[in-house]
């Protein structure tokens, strides 16, 4: 017995313009639709960024919206030998609760826990966070620190790209309009390495990153740093490891002073890339402190 509802009303303070809606169940259907519509199509997964965009006054409405949320192969987290694979529809809540990620890359769980609210985390996906490519995307700095690769699929085949080379500028990636991001994979860091993610927002919940830092620190048995990775978020137009600061740490004994020195170097590099802006007076000391705290958090683990 169904309750049949025939009337269609469209209302809402912020309304969207009409588009074709498709809900493919397989990759083949989805890639066929994408090759048909090209740049006139937009993919929706969790919708937490896209629906806000579509309702902005003057928003550009795509001809078609392709809902990939019903493609079952796109969900789940798995280990493949030395790799961890996150399928693109993995939600922030899935990441937050994943035992696999707690064990191998706990900075991803920390980062996921700072995104939006439980409601947003239950819908928003790691794939969407990457493809939306906002400079404040919280999953991206940890994934770049983990040296992640993305896998993209189109009707023509599958290709991979290193995540650090995937972004062109804020809100623009190098994915072609006919490609779907299907998974993100990264090598498991050494068991002795520890990681952290620290974020500064204007409040504790439902908060956009003003600045963030993802860090991985591998200290050897001889108590010297073997490897360090530092990736700031919301600091550069696109993300990158700050090798100049990482190299300060390598071969040295971890200390608060050493971490502070690396923090100062990150601030210096940030300013050399972005120039001095109205916010620099604030961001310069703050990014240095966040880097120090992120490294201390690794060291405490």
């Amino acid at each position: 017995m169904y309750i049949r509802v025939v009337s269609v009303f469209i209302r809402g303070k912020y309304s969207m313009r009409l588009f074709e809606f498709y809900s493919p169940r397989t990759f083949d259907e989805a890639t066929a639709l994408l090759s048909q519509y090209g740049a006139d199509a937009k993919i929706i997964a969790g919708g937490t960024d896209l629906l806000i965009e579509l309702r902005k006054p003057g928003a550009k409405t795509p001809k078609a919206i392709i809902d990939i949320s019903k493609i079952s192969e796109l969900t789940g987290i798995r280990e493949e030998g030395d790799l961890v694979v996150l399928n693109a529809l993995t939600t922030h809540s899935d990441i937050l609760r994943s035992q696999t990620l707690q064990k191998h890359a706990s900075l991803l769980c920390s980062a996921a826990s700072t995104i939006g609210s439980p409601q947003i985390r239950n819908r928003g996906t790691v794939g969407g966070n990457i493809m939306n490519a906002a400079t404040c995307a919280d999953m991206v700095p940890p994934l770049i620190a983990l040296d992640a690769q993305v896998t993209l699929k189109s009707r023509g085949g599958t290709r991979t790209s290193s995540l650090s080379e995937f972004f062109v500028k804020p809100y623009v990636t190098s994915a072609r309009p006919d490609e779907i991001l299907i998974d993100i994979r990264f090598p498991k860091p050494p068991a002795a390495a520890s990681s952290s993610f620290v974020k500064l927002g204007r409040r504790n919940a439902v908060s956009i990153s003003r600045l963030s830092v993802a860090a991985i620190l591998h200290v050897e048995k001889n108590a010297l740093v073997k490897e360090a990775r530092i990736v700031p978020g919301s600091a550069f137009p696109t993300w990158q490891r700050v090798m100049e600061a990482e190299s300060i740490l390598v071969g040295k004994k971890p200390s608060r002073e050493l971490f502070a020195e690396a923090g100062k170097k990150v601030a210096e590099v940030m300013i050399s890339i972005t120039g001095r802006r109205w916010s620099t007076e604030y961001k310069e000391p703050v990014i240095a402190v966040l880097v120090r705290r992120a490294l201390e958090a690794c060291w405490d683990n």
Binding site: G12, K13, L51, I52, S117, P118, Q119
Partner: protein
């Protein structure tokens, strides 16, 4: 261009077959097509949580879900919380603790709290605060709400 998409979804344990416009949200359909106005329209950008409903047991902002995306899913709204004339223990507890001031955030708060207590019958205060962190109450009655969730009448 197709002006409607046919979907089948379970809403408050009833099966619905609905023609929805592609450019409508779950919130629009609940309130304007189905008359389930207990779910509130607040900020419409996913910040206030007034429109919170459960999809397959998880709290979500219904303003950020396209109606067409709920095909095949199970939705619970505030109207699905009570069992006939018997209030849900959470609703009883909200009454007992005066956790309702103006009432606009209450349906969303209750749905976020339900998602929490369905998974964990004895959450800690911190877990409660995280669970309702996406729900704004501008009467600032958070303490009573936290107390209400903490002391659900055990039934």
């Amino acid at each position: 261009m197709r002006e409607s998409v046919g979907i089948i979804a379970t809403i408050n344990k009833k099966k619905y077959e609905i023609e929805v416009a592609p450019n409508t949200t779950l919130l629009d359909v609940l309130r304007d097509q189905l008359g389930l106005t207990g779910t509130k329209r607040g900020c419409e950008i996913g910040e206030c949580g007034a429109c919170t409903v459960l999809i397959d047991g998880q709290a979500v902002n219904s303003c950020l879900v396209l109606a067409a995306q709920i095909d095949g899913h199970e939705i619970v709204t505030i109207e699905g919380l009570a069992d006939g004339n018997t209030l849900h223990p959470l609703q009883e507890s909200f009454l007992d603790h005066d956790a309702v001031h103006c009432g606009f955030c209450t349906p969303g708060m209750l749905m976020s709290a339900k998602a929490l207590v369905d998974g964990d019958i004895d959450p800690s205060e911190e877990e409660i605060r995280i669970a309702i962190s996406g729900n704004l109450c501008r009467c600032s009655g958070y303490q009573q709400i936290v107390d209400a969730v903490k002391e659900i009448p055990k039934k």
